[in-house]
Amino acid sequence: MNEESQRLPVVSDQDVVRVRQLVRTAAVAAKLSLVDQTKLVTAASELARNTLVYGGGGHVEVTPTRSERGKAGIRIVFSDEGPGIADLDLAFTDGYTSGGGLGLGLSGARRLVDEFDIVTAVGEGTTITVVKWCR
């Protein structure tokens, strides 16, 4: 639908930094407010790190988008072919972590964006799509 989408591999810490920079640039271009830019960049940082740490690496795709009513926004897709998430309720519980983190990445990221969709299957991987709209 959109030719301007950009895709980055996520296989190292440096890649997570690159994802943040790419999302920041896209958010500025879409004229998101400073607060919304920061929220989106932070959500992307959380989800990209999960892709790296729990998904065993994967990809992030950032696409400028428009709503039906013409509002500008950013869509980001995080995908990995890792172990998947067996218990979604548990994974979204504030404070739950299987890896010594704060356990706020998934639940926090969902609160930071306007749309959040997760598709996961054990043994197949996880794909998370988020959207943030301009106000």
């Binding site: 920061t38 704060l102 926090g108």
Partner: protein, 278 residues
């Protein structure tokens, strides 16, 4: 304009039938343009490989540098760019190594009826290969610069004694795990060295505070407490504050201030005479 299939075939033939003199002349031109900064033997190896790369791409049917049949050639050109960028050559010097092929071709193309027409077509192909090389050089150079900036950042994590009894660490840029570890160790060491009861962690320069950054800060605060020092987090800008709240991060009873100056004022007021300037 792309080559016609016939032109591509004839270019491939020319590269094959005159392989020796063409490579020799091409090498000579590149050696001259780089003024001896790479050895003749090394450059000869490069031009030999590149000549082969051009020839295989063209005989596999490439009529344009972007064609699938030219994948291998583009990989060679990117590698050349990458090596030259690392060795400190300029983008122009790098591209000239490819442009020089045109002059070498001119020497061997002969003076047949359509030599001029063919030469123009071949030249255009070489030009696009050189431009591709130029572009990839620029991309590689940018990523080298970004890497260096990142490394520089890691080195520059100063912990300063701000006042008698107060040390401060201004965090700048992205705080990955490795750097966070360095920051924490330096801060704790400085607390010991200066026997300061207060540490201010200033995050004005951190563009985004995610859970990993927050966790590093929290761990540092706990470690400092174990050593008898109190930490204050300063420089929390409004957008960062809102994001932290939405994430659900709790700094608990850790004092937070909007600016470094506020944090210092707070410490001094709490500490009254203990932290006098004497």
């Amino acid at each position: 304009m792309p080559l016609s299939p016939d032109e591509a075939r004839r270019f491939a033939d020319l590269l094959e039938s005159h392989a020796e003199p063409l490579t020799a002349r091409w090498t000579e031109l590149v050696v001259a343009s780089l003024r001896g900064r790479l050895s003749g033997a090394e450059l000869h190896r490069q031009t030999t490989d590149l000549r082969r790369g051009f020839q295989s791409a063209l005989s596999a049917g490439a009529i344009e540098v972007t064609d699938g049949a030219a994948d291998e050639l583009r990989a060679q050109l990117s590698e050349l760019s990458s090596n030259r960028a690392r060795q400190g050559f300029t983008a122009t010097e790098t591209a000239i190594s490819i442009y020089a092929l045109k002059e070498a071709v001119l020497d061997v193309i002969g003076d047949g009826d359509d030599a001029l027409r063919l030469y123009v077509a071949f030249s255009a192909f070489v030009d696009r290969a050189a431009l591709f090389t130029f572009d990839s050089y620029v991309r590689i150079r940018e990523s080298l610069i970004a890497d260096q900036a990142e490394q520089l950042l890691e080195l520059s994590t100063p912990v300063v004694k701000l006042w008698e009894g107060v040390v401060a660490v201004p965090l700048v840029g992205t705080l990955d795990s490795a750097r966070a570890q360095v920051v924490m160790e330096r801060l704790l060491q400085t607390l010991v060295d200066t026997s300061s009861p207060y540490a201010i962690i200033d995050i004005t320069g951190v563009p985004a505070v995610d859970t990993q950054v927050a966790q590093h800060i929290l761990k540092t605060v706990v470690a400092a407490r174990l050593m008898g020092a109190d930490c204050i987090i300063s420089g929390i800008r409004p957008q960062i504050a809102q994001t932290i709240v939405a994430l659900g991060i709790e700094f608990g009873d850790i004092a937070t201030k909007a600016s470094l100056a506020d944090a210092l004022r707070y410490v001094l007021s709490r500490n009254g005479n203990k932290s006098s300037r004497s």
